[in-house]
Symmetry: C2
């Protein structure tokens, strides 16, 4: 069995750590990198070397930022009675880009996942509880993926937050815009039917 040169094999192992990248894709990536110009490779290594120092995680909300002041934590510019809890810093940008939310954010450290042995103690709840005490909250939006892990975490947080008399909401379930009934799964369709609007 002919095997790739060692450096390529290492590169393939590394590429496989990226989400959704299997062996075949990682191999294609590695062979593509070989054909890159030297300037692109240098640009790539520079970025990787600087990424650790260029980015910081906001100690309050968990967002990433390249400045000392977190762009999402300024209470003078944003509605501090509304808090959106998310699973990853990336999701902040997705919510921001809808342009209809102007509240505060809080990024959890991952989601509950019994299969991966991640229980409540891994969610960094003290940080969230401190956050809830500091903000004059009226509503908390749980904006997690509609997955088993997202649902479990939402359920867990709902109990925790409702005990503090805060309105807890989740993203609506229903048909995605542009979708066709034909391709919709039954679960989504049931939700869309049950939540129908005049």
């Amino acid at each position: 069995m002919a095997s790739y040169p060692e450096i390529l094999q290492k590169l393939i192992i590394l590429f496989r750590k990226l989400p959704g990248v299997g062996r075949k894709t990682a191999e294609r990536f590695a062979f593509q990198i070989i054909s890159w110009q030297k300037s692109d490779i240098t640009f790539f290594t520079d970025l990787l070397q600087n990424i650790g120092s260029a980015l910081t995680f906001c100690k309050t909300c968990g967002a990433i930022s390249d400045s000392t002041a977190c762009p999402f934590c300024d209470e003078r510019l944003r509605n501090s009675s509304l808090l959106c809890i998310l699973a990853s810093p990336k999701d902040i940008y997705t919510i921001e880009n809808t342009r209809i939310f102007n509240g505060m954010y809080h990024v959890m450290k991952g989601l509950l996942s019994p299969l991966d042995n991640r229980g409540p103690e891994e969610l960094n709840l003290p940080a969230l509880e401190k956050r809830i005490e500091t903000l004059p909250l009226k509503e908390v939006i749980l904006a997690f993926d509609s997955t088993l892990e997202g649902d479990a975490t939402a359920l867990f947080l709902k109990d925790l937050l409702e005990r503090k008399n805060i309105l807890v909401t989740r993203l609506a379930l229903g048909m995605p815009i542009g979708s066709s009934l034909d391709y919709l799964d039954e679960g989504t369709l049931s939700k869309a039917l049950a939540s129908r609007r005049p």
Copy 2:
């Protein structure tokens, strides 16, 4: 519109240069990289920095190699009357792993592609012609993808090689092993029918 920190945006642009990676995938890759451990990042940058010097392209066949002697060009170990022409160095490993080919290889510099303005002058034909003169060839196998570009290049090389009285063959077209008739396109099925064997 909230935009990602600048360093992430640059990383996303770079990831999009990888084959089959669109904006959403590149964004996921970039956010994944942020969560990597420092040791993985260092390992990654080291590999990228060394890849240029660690790998060489064989001047004879175009294969990549991490040693000075090309592992695929030793005429004492391989059948020099058989030449397999391919589109990329990666394809050599794919052919090698079938274990039924023990001839020589020659990697073309890309394929003919009228759409991308790549004509015969970009294929580095002098190198191929020199190769054909040096080897005691009986057969040349054109092992290109079964695509428009692959077909065009094969047709072009067939004319060129047959004028030199060399037997030119291509990979057989037919059903992939494990495939079901239901999902086979008509073109492939026609070829499989026409080339049926007792």
